[in-house]
Amino acid sequence: MPRRYPLFLALMLTVTQSVTADSGPGTAKDVVSAAEQEGKLVVYSTTDIALVVPLLKDFAALYPKVALEYNDLNSTELYNRVISEVAAGAGSGDFLWSSAMDLQMKLANDAYALAYASPELPHLPQWASWRNEAYATTFEPIAFVYNKRLVKPEEVPQSHTELAKTLAGNTDRWRGKVTAYDPERSGVGFLLITQDARLDPNFAETERSYGRVGVKLYTSIGAMLERIQSGEHLLGFNIFGSYATARQRKDPSLGIVYPKDYTLVMARLALIPKAAKHPNAAKVFLDYILSKRGQELIAEAALFSIRDDVEGEHTAASLNRELGGTLKPLPVGPSLLVYLDHAKRLEFLKQWQQAIGTK
């Protein structure tokens, strides 16, 4: 698996990829030539560069005149950086790509985003874009993850309801062994748990079962996966299937379950800020990521392709076949902003703390 090569963009001309001509992006010719004039593209992203090296290399092979600079940031840093750079008039990234859907949506809603009707738009689901400003680029299921060495297959819950039952049924077995994002400290964790509150009819009970086993809450997905792998914890919920799959490739003792009652689907949202210095290059990159050719590499990176004409293990198409109607993608739109209201957010957190018994 040729996952990693040196990322020297200049050398990428030599990379050969067997890609059929018609799977390439349908960007208008004048946009491409304007992008080549600009010659540069600055990407701010929360996606670990390790996952997207093949994607970036292929882009460089396709558009050798556009030098791509990739900045790996966490989602809060990304948002902070953009609003402060725009306020200083110092220019900003050309392409913002983040898994913090709410913060990306807030940028779009606060008029930071440039509207661009991507020619790839017809190949995306209806819910996957907002006013041609914010685009969903992936289709990442949210999973339960467990340690295969230490958890028997029959112990593994297959749905949120089962999770609550399993935990409540044997609190001693699971005490201190269950992990998740801390909604107080992690924006993504907050977004996920509020979706659970919306979709799980027995959420109050589920929540209490978390409290009963003393769920361990973290800010970083790496910390959670690491501790499930090591056996310090046994089971994690609300974990990105994409990261877990990438980790599973290195350590097969990691087990992944997509809950059968409902599986949340998150997307990495892309947007082009109005302050972009290289807007055309950004448009070309957006079209490329959404194109069949780009999405095939997204699927290979286990970030899950959002296009239904891309086949393979890590695609919306295969998830739809497997899980069908239980997939619950978060629609791209102002509904993501509900809990950015301070009072609502603090109210939810207070209720959460009471339920799991930390307050």
């Binding site: 090296v53 900045n71 840093e77 306020a87 107080e184 790496g222 090591s230």
Partner: protein, 557 residues
């Protein structure tokens, strides 16, 4: 004299600008209800009201106090003892031990904490061995007590460095006199050496206490599973509390921390008011014979080694182990999971390679320039009976009270919004300035400690002979403290290479350094790369230390 005063005032003003501009932004930000650069932000006390009404704030404050007091109580006596053992006694192997004693200073706390998780966590390899042998491991790594003890043990070298450089600077003739009069080593340590190093112990005690208030890496990782909060991690938590970044709340916490810092500086000044009492470098040679400890020397060695095993070997073993395996923990056979892949991966990423290069450059070159700046400031202050000197003295302590994370953010704003500085933002120079200011108090104290030991009569003699103030500085004072300067450079190098929190908000293409890359990658979950980078960081610093020793920066003479 008049002219050199103007030079000194210029130094004070430059230093003031570098320190007060980020401080000013933070202060201003704390009295607004939104980010200062957004038009919608209005003056308000709402941020203060929010923080002071928050139960978590008081919880975090209490924990911070416990940690800071506990680690100071642990580090100061042990650091002082260590310095005495190494500098004054016939401790076996003390020459080759000394570089090892400094290792905890230049290990990033994030790295140490991560290493402890792999070694002493609930399924760490030491814990598993212990459990096999005894049945149950009696410690909980994720408790406030563990954080305090680890912080205390890892801060011993700070105290050691101050105290040992003072001990070396003062002649051992008083101790020899006591020995000749028949006093035992312990008695000499207690009644002769201790009073002489009291200024160094006080300085380092206050410093360690400060460091306790801005401890970030250790509680971030070790406090995570149990939800332990200290002020800095509370501040970090505030970033997401309201969903969007709440700079005003973070600024309030920073202001609170600084409000604690100022009285401490004042206290320190009071305690050290009559520092002239301790001058003991006289115009004569200082050759010393080590004090004998008899058979106690082996017990002392054992104590030092035990500390090194607990503070250095254990976490480093954890980090190295993690760097060479794909996974670890309960039920994993390590032989089956060995790999070198994490290291080969590193070189696939230009930003990581740049980070390694930048780290070295900022450490070596930036460290040297920083020491030159610190020396200029210290000399400006040296024997200057002026109100300006007092102002300077308080000024340099200020940034140390700012958590590195917040100082980094403030500098990010400074470089963003001050147009003439904007071109520096994407270069390592911006990082260097931030580092130099954040570590100003630390570097200054190193140099001041050396200056404090220079007797005024040597300089006065030169002045009497008609030398100008500049000549005195160049020909008398500087040569007398040159070993102090070299030692400071080495120490600043180690600190800059290790630094992790200040660079987090300045991190971007061109400003990557290993420390902030580790924090950032930890957040995204690339633990493999984090462990490999940590190992490289440790190895680089080890090499730097070896080179410095080879070049003759000998801390043990």
């Amino acid at each position: 004299m008049r002219q050199s005063s103007w030079g000194r005032v210029a130094v004070v003003l430059t230093t003031g600008l570098a320190i007060l501009s980020p401080l000013g932004i933070i202060l201003y930000q704390s009295f607004l209800d939104g980010p200062f650069f957004q038009g919608s932000a209005r003056p308000s006390l709402s941020a203060f009201r929010f923080v002071f009404a928050d139960a978590d704030f008081y919880r975090a404050f209490g924990s911070t106090l416990i940690v800071a007091v506990g680690m100071t109580a642990l580090a100061v006596p042990l650091g002082g003892l260590l310095a005495f053992l190494v500098v004054r006694t016939d401790l076996p192997g003390r020459r080759w031990l000394e570089p090892a004693l400094l290792i905890p200073i230049f290990l990033s706390p994030v790295v140490i904490a991560f290493g402890y998780v792999v070694a002493l966590g609930p399924v760490g390899f030491v814990t598993l061995l212990f459990r096999e042998a005894v049945g149950k491991a009696p410690w909980n790594l994720y408790s406030l007590a563990s954080v305090t003890v680890i912080a205390g043990l890892t801060h011993i070298p700070h105290v050691y460095l101050y105290t040992s450089s003072t001990l070396r600077a003062i002649g051992s003739d008083l101790e020899e006199a006591a020995a000749v009069s028949g006093a035992g080593t312990a008695r000499i340590a207690w009644t002769v050496s201790l009073p002489m190093v009291r200024p160094a112990l006080l300085f380092s005690g206050v410093l360690v206490f400060f460091l306790g208030f801005e401890l970030f890496g250790l509680p971030l990782i070790l406090g995570d599973p149990e939800g332990l909060l200290v002020l800095s991690t509370y501040l970090y938590k505030l970033t997401n509390r309201l969903g969007v970044p709440s700079y005003q709340l973070m600024a309030v916490v920073a202001v609170v921390i600084m409000a604690i810092a100022f009285p401490l500086v004042w206290l320190q000044r009071r305690l050290l008011g009559a520092s002239g009492r301790f001058v003991s470098v006289r115009g004569k040679g200082l050759k010393s014979a080590p004090l004998r400890m008899g058979r106690w020397r082996w017990a002392a060695l054992l104590l030092v080694l035990a500390w090194l095993v607990a503070t250095v070997v254990t976490p480093l073993a954890g980090v190295f182990l993690r760097a060479f395996v794909t996974n670890w923990g309960e039920g994993v056979r390590l032989r089956e999971v060995l790999t070198l892949e994490h290291f080969t991966e590193l070189f696939d990423y230009p930003n990581l390679v740049r980070g390694i290069v930048n780290t070295m450059v900022i450490g070596v070159v930036g460290g040297a320039i920083a020491v030159a700046c610190y020396a200029a400031i210290a000399l400006a202050q040296h024997r200057w009976q002026s109100r300006w000197a007092k102002v300077l003295d308080y000024l340099v302590m200020v940034p140390r009270g700012m958590p590195g994370l917040v100082a980094g953010l403030a500098f990010f704003w400074v470089f963003l919004f001050v147009k003439p500085l904007a071109p520096l933002r994407a270069t390592p120079i911006s990082l260097w300035i931030a580092y130099s200011v954040v570590w100003l108090a630390y570097g200054m104290r190193l140099i001041s400690s050396a200056l404090l030991q220079v007797g005024p009569e040597l300089e006065e003699a030169a002045l009497t002979m008609g030398a100008s103030r500049g000549q005195v500085t160049r020909d008398v004072t500087l040569p007398l403290i040159r070993f102090g300067l070299l030692g400071s450079w080495l120490l600043v190098f180690l600190i800059f290479v290790r630094e992790y929190s200040t660079g987090v908000y300045l991190l971007g293409p061109g400003t990557e350094v290993i420390g902030s890359l580790i924090v950032s990658l930890w957040g995204t979950g690339a633990i493999d790369i984090v462990s490999a980078l940590s190992v490289i960081n440790v190895v680089l610093v080890g090499l730097g230390l070896a080179v410095a020793l080879r070049l003759g920066v000998r801390l043990h003479e």
